[in-house]
Symmetry: C2
Subunit: 499 residues, 2 copies
């Protein structure tokens, strides 16, 4: 009997996964080249498929499986993990009344289009009532979950399971204490980098060829993925054998495509290397947003912005656009691609200042959900924090608080993942160095395999079968520790800016 239910449940899971995969393909298609007139009808299709998926995940049938299989400790320990994952999702969703959740989804959709207009017009007032409702709805959900004691932790947990304000305050505090003064020292340094050549013409086709050959060398399997071009680059895992990435080509700034593609390649290599036994289950994906971002940032910064990597690739890049790099040597190039300069826009910021952008939004989100700030006060507070941490102040909300779409989509608690990923990446890098001391030498030779193997063994393979914390502990022998990122940034930027 129990065997029969196990089998049925696993088939049920596979069916749910088919709905997810079909929706993911539709999403990819809409973002990469679907004809524009198809949007209305295709949205209906998505909504029909999502509704079925949602009912399967939160309805009576799932409840019955969870009850019948509760306390399962079978030979297949994978099933245990699947049950746990489904149970968490069921718990979370079944506590929210269906009509309230439906209203919330409609609110998100409306808020995203209003946000777009508000951003264009730099008019926070337009967006304010929607933001207010989104926040209130999330607060209500937190009460339904019975987590009003630590409201922001409940949100963090959705993106980074187990993460808490207590931990973030500590690690972000340590990071801020070191980065803010370092940024200031750089802004006062006499060293001027030559970056002019970056903005010279580099044609799209040549950029694409370079990107393709590079990600291939970095271990991205093009037989299990593809590279397209979009305005907003992304990686999406339809399944572990179909992980697609996109990039954006700027003919007057090759960094956009080169580092953007390497970044998405990091996400994709993670998904491509999850244990294939997890295929078709909810465990077959990255364990958290933070660990995901650790992989993309590892590839982008610890490989892509490493001088040793360019010892191998510089000639290939310059050959693709010879006039542009005329009389530019590797050192000049390396410094230029690592220039640090406070900027107002997160997605345009550099490796050093990036974490500060994240911390500002983290601090605001925390205040919002602790009831320490009203929505009206947010724009001013945002601007003050930019002045304090980065020494610059937005002139309007379009380049300030309205710059990112996340809040319009109700994604509170998501932002810290970006900075967490960065700290995880630095900590993993230090662990890899112990196992593979000749890391830089491998980059110089283009022999990425041992590094990729290490990441697969310690991070990728597990999918969702380990928590972020378990992964970091097992891979590095300790809990999250911001010191690795601090040491890395200090050493790197003090050298570049001769501080």
């Amino acid at each position: 009997m129990s065997k029969q239910i196990e089998k049925e449940f696993l088939e049920y899971i596979q069916t749910m996964d088919a709905y997810r995969e079909a929706s993911a393909l539709i999403g990819w298609d809409l973002r990469t080249g679907a004809p524009k007139k198809t949007i209305d009808k295709r949205s209906q299709v998505i909504s029909i498929l999502s509704k079925v998926h949602f009912e399967m995940a939160t309805g009576e049938q799932m409840k019955s499986y969870l009850e019948q299989l509760s306390g399962y400790r079978g030979e297949q320990d994978m099933l245990e993990d699947i049950l746990k994952e489904c149970g968490l999702e069921f718990e979370r969703m079944s506590k929210i009344p269906a009509d309230e959740y439906k209203q919330y989804v409609q609110l998100q959709s409306k808020a995203e289009s209003v946000w777009e207009e508000a951003k264009d017009q730099a008019d926070f007032e337009l967006f304010r009532p929607y933001l207010d409702q989104l926040i209130e709805t999330n607060k209500k959900f937190i009460r339904y979950w019975g987590k009003e004691e630590r409201p922001y932790d409940a949100l963090l947990d959705m993106y980074e399971p187990g993460m808490t304000v207590e931990v973030l305050d500590e690690v972000f505090g340590a990071l801020k204490d070191e980065i803010v003064p370092l940024v200031k020292r750089i802004s006062e340094s006499k060293k001027k980098l030559n970056t002019e050549f970056i903005y010279r013409h580099f044609d799209t086709e040549s950029q694409r060829d370079f990107c393709l050959s590079t990600i291939k060398e970095l271990g991205y399997d093009l037989d299990a993925g593809r590279l397209d071009s979009t305005v907003h680059p992304f990686a999406t895992a339809l399944n572990a054998n179909d992980v697609r990435i996109t990039t954006k080509y700027d003919e007057t700034d090759f960094r956009v495509a080169v580092f953007g593609t390497i970044h998405e390649c990091g996400h994709a290599v993670y998904e491509q290397n999850i244990d294939k036994a997890l295929e078709g289950t909810p465990l077959c994906t990255g364990t958290s947003m933070g660990i995901h971002e650790s992989q993309s940032l590892f590839f982008e910064n610890f490989i892509g912005r490493n001088k040793h990597f360019w010892k191998k690739h510089f000639d290939k890049l310059t050959a693709a656009s010879p006039e542009q790099f005329d009389r530019i040597d590797l050192d000049t190039f390396y410094e230029a691609i690592n220039e640090s300069k406070p900027s107002l826009i997160r997605v345009e910021s550099d490796e050093l200042t990036y974490a500060l952008h994240i911390m500002i939004r983290y601090e605001l989100e925390k205040m919002i959900f602790n009831g320490e700030v009203s929505v009206d006060e947010l724009p001013e507070l945002w601007n003050d924090k930019y002045e304090e941490y980065l020494g610059i102040r937005p002139e309007h909300d379009g380049e300030g608080i309205l710059q990112d779409v996340h809040w319009a989509g109700g994604m509170f608690g998501y932002f810290p993942s970006y900075a967490l990923g960065y700290m995880y990446a630095a900590q993993l890098k230090a662990a890899i160095l112990k196992a593979i001391p000749h890391f830089d030498e491998l980059l110089e030779k283009g022999q990425i395999e041992p590094i990729k193997d290490w990441l697969r063994e310690h991070v990728h393979q597990y999918g969702k079968r380990k928590t972020p914390r378990e992964i970091i502990q097992l891979a590095t022998g300790e809990d999250l520790n911001p010191q690795y990122l601090i040491d890395y940034l200090k050493a790197k930027y003090e050298a570049i800016y001769e501080l």
Copy 2:
């Protein structure tokens, strides 16, 4: 009460259509660039979605709707047509035992891969047992449907509703009586066409530009479609606002892409111009394979191979590949693109001999289902007919009976659509000429709108709300009449070959 059921049924239909659309997108993606390693998992997804769609179309719920709404004559006469369409599908599928149908689907899938190997090795024996089973299964289905009196009509009806052997024998007979002698006269004619320039280099990018601008001018809406490149070109309607086409570029034969793209464009313009009120219902598609093919062939031959069309486009084409067309004038070009020469391969054949290829397979299929031939005898019979109708004989089955995939997919009764489409197209052209006597002048000016409007009004808009026969009768004032095609071919080829 009845209102409530109508509403529920229409929602049910929309949900079924969402499954169809999602599967269609997956199909498009698999054929245009999905990574090869995704195929196994994606096939599972398709099979899960198809199963749900199949159960919705043939299960208890559909049965209940059909019963509750039977004899419906409401204000919405569209609903009547939807019920009729669903009823036909339900009748057809519910008479086949589910496990037999499942086995048949597996047989098709296996047979297609065996066929591929058999074709490559030119070894009919490999494929023979599968073909035998496919035929026997179809015969069994025909018995389940109670149509063993006229077995082949039952198959024809699936692709061309209402079409019968009686009609086909008559029209194909008339056509054959005229084409076979005409082909012979051409082969004996002294006129030699200059076709050498066709095989000179024409680069892909320029071909693509030409094709894109041409289909745009022909009324293909690129905001409701897209053009990609594939080995086997096709058109697929995800919905009426998303009808995608593909083409193949051969740098040493521009005709492949130019006429292939115009052909698929004809299919797509049909689907794009179906009445939008039918969206999300099973009526929102071409009424039959034959009418569909009439639209693609109308575009390809009656527009694309018309000299007046090239009076406008010849300069644009030659500008895209100037060396190739050096000292080639419009008359030489027109004759070359209309060269007629018996060939063994259907998809490579010309406008004149094409119908003969179709008739040969029709005659064999008819014999098969009338029990007049055994599978063993087919290859020899095939070769004899090629010799009789086209004056050439295949050297092996790879270029003979094994050339097309259709039989491996169980598609018996499909082939006649190709020739029907051709006859329909010629008959429609004659009707258009009555309404728009300055047809050729419009082509010369690139003013396709009135022609497209006529086709929309008389063919496209109806979707499946009219049968092929109704469409032809209403649009042309008479039943299918092969004389229009005969007259067209004779006039055209006697002029070109100066007979």
